[in-house]
């Protein structure tokens, strides 16, 4: 398992795998497979893949710890950048076909419609993360600060789910599904953080605690 996770080729294979949704769209486009409303089809597909890649990215840390696979960290940046890549395509279908590349009209729309505001907020949250994803930026910012900044992905994922929930008219099953996944992944972190803090406190206080609570 270790050899597989640390192999250079695994990374190449994952990269190609992450391109399949795009390839599928291109293939559909060439074979008249985008349906009656191709713009909407591309918009919905790239939006879904953005959420999926955010979920994949958020899976990395819990999976590393739960399954004792520290090497999974090698793929986190790529998954996060693919989330941003599909988000860029998603955003372009909105800016282009929907808003005719009219920035002032777009900003008005962003200000007026809560579901668009939420989607745009998610985009703004992910933009600095994509820009500072390089090793150089980790050095420049320092590991701690870099990590703090990159916690913005939690809020981006929440914004993405709310954006989807507010977009649908009445059938909320799909946004709720992604909402549940994001909730599980964030709650796991909360639990992990809480238990770590408690056990850290426990180590510090252990002599007194041990005598104060002999029954434990």
């Amino acid at each position: 398992m270790r050899a597989l996770l640390t192999s250079k080729w695994t990374k190449v294979a994952l990269f190609l795998l992450c391109l399949i949704p795009l390839a599928a769209l291109v293939w559909r486009g060439l074979h008249n497979g985008l349906g009656a409303n191709p713009v909407e089809f591309i918009q919905l597909t790239t939006g879904r893949w953005t959420l999926r890649f955010l979920v994949f990215t958020l899976c990395v840390t819990p999976f590393r710890k739960l399954f004792h696979l520290p090497d999974l960290i090698r793929f986190r940046r790529m998954l996060g950048l693919f989330a941003f890549f599909y988000l860029c395509l998603h955003f372009l279908t909105y800016l282009g076909p929907d808003q005719s590349f009219d920035f002032s009209a777009m900003l008005k729309d962003v200000a007026k419609r809560p579901f668009i505001t939420m989607g745009f907020l998610g985009f703004l949250l992910l933009l600095p993360l994509a820009l500072t994803s390089t090793a150089g930026w980790i050095r420049r910012l320092g590991g701690k600060r870099w990590q703090m900044l990159h916690r913005a992905i939690y809020f981006a994922a929440i914004a993405g789910v709310i954006h989807f929930y507010w977009k649908v008219k009445s059938d909320v099953r799909e946004p709720l599904f992604y909402g549940a996944l994001v909730a599980i992944l964030l709650l796991w972190r909360l639990g992990d953080w809480y238990f770590k803090r408690r056990s850290a406190a426990g180590i510090k206080l252990s002599p007194q605690q041990a005598s104060a609570h002999p029954a434990r």
């Binding site: 349906g35 409303n37 729309d109 007026k112 419609r113 059938d171």
Partner: protein, 320 residues
Amino acid sequence: MLIRKAPDLTFADVTPKSVYLDRRRFLQTVGVAGAALAAGHRLLEWVAPSQTAFAATKFSSLVKSPFSTTEKQNSYEDVTHYNNFYEFGTDKSDPAKNSGKFDTSNWSVSVEGEVAKPRKFTMDEILKLAPLEERIYRHRCVEAWSIVVPWIGFSFSNLVKLVEPTSKAQFVGFQSYYDSRQMPEGRWAGIEFPYVEGLRLDEAMNPLTLLCVGMYGESLPNQDGAPVRMVIPWKYGFKSIKSLVKIKFQSKMPPTTWNLAAPNEYGFYSNVSPNVDHPRWSQAKERRLGEIFKRSTLMFNGYGDQVAGMYNGMDLKKYY
């Protein structure tokens, strides 16, 4: 212990080579016969399509309508594979997938309420009620997309005159068919069924208001609201109720499904208007299916000459 020994095989037991070789020819023969049978079936299907696979009836001698637009019609493929018919699922491609077995035989539409002559109409009676016209209308969805469809039907007023509404009749309520066994996807739609809609009586009497039984020269496909639906071209698509089973004339404004689901988003009137935005999306523009960029939406979907008079003095921002 008895150990049974298999009898020794002799040369005589070996299948002769000629027969052995024939085995291949035999299989080939079977294969060819099978293929021929399949091809024959396909040919037969092409010459005389079986009714279950292709249930549409062609309408002949349709009257041309002065209300028809000369704009480019959308393809039959688009209009039958991009549908909002939540009883069959909420994805645009769901109705085409899930409505195939929808049973529309023995259909009837009951007309009741404030009328002198309440009655039921069978489909045969509806088809003979007035000469069938082809009306090529713009159809604008509240989701900001639009299509151009050659509908078939006649003005709804033809039916109204037959049942003679009383003086108390101010509104007309409509109801769609709903059967959770035939429409199992409906339970996830997030809106109440049966679907209900309504019009003011003068709106219902407007000659543009179409009682629709077909499109593209044929009877309505299931996913487009078979066998009979309403088409009200100056209102958002959700007003044009599908698979109609009940019409009720009444003195009070009837409840409407989307208004019940989200009253701040969908009003009773729901006239197409670029000036009254839906809270979640702009109504100033629309995407005609088949086009990439959006075009400007027209007031009353371009039917102002025929309908604007009905709303004189009304604040359409208040009565959206």
